[in-house]
């Protein structure tokens, strides 16, 4: 009974010893692992379900009962790091049978933690356990099998383990002598107390290890999900401004629009810098006019894209995942409010003639009235949909759906009218203002939205606590942030 627990314990302690900085356990467990693996115990002793772990304390008890001098930890590794002869002496009643071979996979829960852990491991092992007999591959595989059955974790390869096992050379002579001298039982109060403490420590280590493994599993699943989404988003063309990755049911029209809008945003940045340098360089009015007209054509382009997208997938436009979150916060009918443009301008524009000022204010007034009219129309649409779908007495479900579909099809018209309103507002601004004023106005508006998009990115990547503890709160984090916090989790252990 003790024997399979020995193997389990070795697994446990090799895994968590670095985390808990429990040097005693570490050295002993490593050497035990090597020593016992040389002489595999009967199959019955290998616990395949991996559910039960055993006490390191009990192992030590067993060794104490065998007459080991437990006061010096130096002695322990040597005693058990011997070859087949030493282990036979320790457990004389066991027949020696080959262990049932499990699929060899280089996996251990400790190894995936970090390379530094294995490096520490090899460092310690090398400096203080030179006599380890681990040179055979079979032993290596057995150790890994034990880990596999113990932890059922299929993770990254344990690169540290093979390297450490091969670096240790096994002189056996001195160990045998020391082993041969120990016989009889040594039990005193101090030893008993220490055994009890070790049991307690072992139990705690086991619980910690369980929790750690669970966290790792869930993090791994999350990470793979995120990677998939990222992959999908990349294949469809990633967009700027901190927008989230698309959901699983994105239509082709929507994906197309997202991609083209991403390109449009790049164009937007280019136009912005063009206008900025044009104003700073004090270009002539004619040159500036070309730049400004180019910018208006660029604006017309996005309305054209949206018109195509509205035909393909109007809901995608309305929901606005293609926008950055901060922009989406103020969304109105699949885009910005035309009167918002005026709001942005009013504080920034100076040196307007009286006529121009009148023009701007009447533009603000008329755009607000038009927005109000369209909003009322949309409310009417919703009311009509409620009347259709919320009917208690449904005679013909398909008929009801057909009518509802017809009503929903009106949404495209509203989005088209809203975009038309936006386009007209931009053109009217161009008409009211002089070339230079128009350039400054578009720069102000463009910079505002650019900063709003940057704000979204900053908001999404703001520092947060651990990945796991945030599960209860809602989150829309960027992939980078998730990966970073996942990495923090691993290094904490």
């Amino acid at each position: 009974m003790d024997n399979h627990r020995v193997i389990r314990e070795m697994d446990n302690h090799r895994v968590i010893s670095e985390a808990t900085n429990h040097n005693d356990n570490h050295h002993l467990s490593y050497s035990l692992l090597h020593g016992l693996s040389n002489n595999p115990p009967p199959p019955g002793f290998i616990n395949q379900d991996g559910s039960s772990c055993f006490d390191y304390g009990e192992l030590e008890e067993a060794m104490v009962l065998q007459g080991v001098n437990s006061s010096s930890h130096e002695a322990k590794p040597r005693l058990f790091a011997g070859g087949g002869a030493t282990t036979l002496e320790m457990f004389p009643s066991w027949p020696i049978r080959t262990h049932k071979s499990l699929p060899t996979e280089s996996s251990k829960s400790g190894g995936e933690s970090s390379d530094s852990e294995s490096a520490n491991f090899s460092g310690k092992a090398e400096s203080q356990l030179p006599e380890s007999p681990m040179s055979s591959k079979q032993n290596h595989h057995l150790m890994l099998q034990h880990h596999h059955s113990n932890n059922m974790a299929n993770s990254t390869s344990a690169s540290g383990l093979p390297s450490t096992s091969r670096t240790l050379a096994p002189p056996k002579a001195s160990e045998d002598k020391r082993k041969a001298t120990t016989s009889g039982k040594l039990l005193d109060a101090k030893t008993l107390r220490r055994l009890a403490q070790n049991r307690e420590a072992a139990r705690k280590s086991r619980l910690r290890k369980k929790a750690y493994v669970q966290q790792l599993e869930s993090s791994r699943i999350k990470l793979s999900q995120l990677e998939q989404e990222l992959q999908r988003a990349r294949s469809q063309g990633m967009f700027m401004g901190g927008c989230g990755p698309p959901g699983p049911n994105i239509t082709s029209g929507a994906a197309m629009f997202d991609m083209e809008y991403g390109r449009w945003l790049e164009d937007e940045n280019r136009h912005m810098s063009e206008i900025r340098t044009g104003l700073q360089a004090h270009l002539s009015d004619n040159d500036l006019r070309l730049i400004v007209d180019g910018y208006i054509a660029h604006f017309d382009e996005v309305f054209r894209l949206k018109a195509v997208a509205a035909k393909a997938d109007v809901f995608h436009l309305i929901i606005g995942t293609w926008m950055s979150p901060a922009e989406r916060c103020f969304i109105w009918m699949a885009g910005f409010r035309p009167s918002d443009f005026i709001k942005i301008l009013v504080s920034q524009m100076d040196l307007l003639t009286e006529q121009q000022l009148m023009g701007i204010y009447s533009l603000q007034h008329s755009s607000q009235q038009a927005e109000e009219a369209l909003s009322q129309g949309l409310e009417q649409l919703q009311q009509s949909l409620i009347d259709t779908l919320a009917a208690s007495q449904v005679i013909d479900g398909m008929q009801q759906m057909a009518v509802a579909l017809g009503k929903v099809s009106n949404l495209e018209g509203f989005i088209r009218q809203a975009d038309n309103l936006r386009q007209q507002t931009v053109h009217q601004l161009r008409r009211i203002l002089t070339v230079r004023q128009a350039a400054r106005c578009f720069l102000v508006i463009g910079e505002y939205y650019g900063r709003l998009r940057a704000l979204s990115s900053l908001w999404l990547s703001r520092p947060r606590e651990t990945l796991i503890s945030d599960e209860t709160s809602c989150q829309t984090t960027t992939d980078l942030q998730m990966v970073q916090s996942s990495r923090n989790q691993f290094s904490n252990f």
Binding site: Q369, A373, Q376, N410, Q417
Partner: protein, 137 residues
Amino acid sequence: MQYQTESWGSYKMSNIGFGGDVGLAADTSLLRLESLVAESAVVIFSVSTCCMCHAVKGLFRGMGVSPAVHELDLHPYGGDIQRALIRLLGCSGASSPGALPVVFIGGKLVGAMDRVMASHINGSLVPLLKDAGALWL
């Protein structure tokens, strides 16, 4: 007060090529349309269930204008008038959803919703309303 509708002459001319009977029918429906349009300063042809029509009505009422609204789905000659409107606007399909609402101000055709919005934004709608006497101040 009757409003001038002489701009329609050209429209009538272009539609004669449809053939005898149709041309006659077109004439009568256009005449009907003309008379309706001449009755009030602001005339809106709409459909009672259409939400965009609701929006355009809201727009004018919000400006303080009280338009004359003709719900063509409830009008005895609604179909005729709608066909005449479609011909006037130059739409291809007979039951094109984009046809309605259609707005006339002072007997003159303004157009469908997008034209109305554009004219409001570029500032031409209010003077038109004032000229037609639909808006004071």
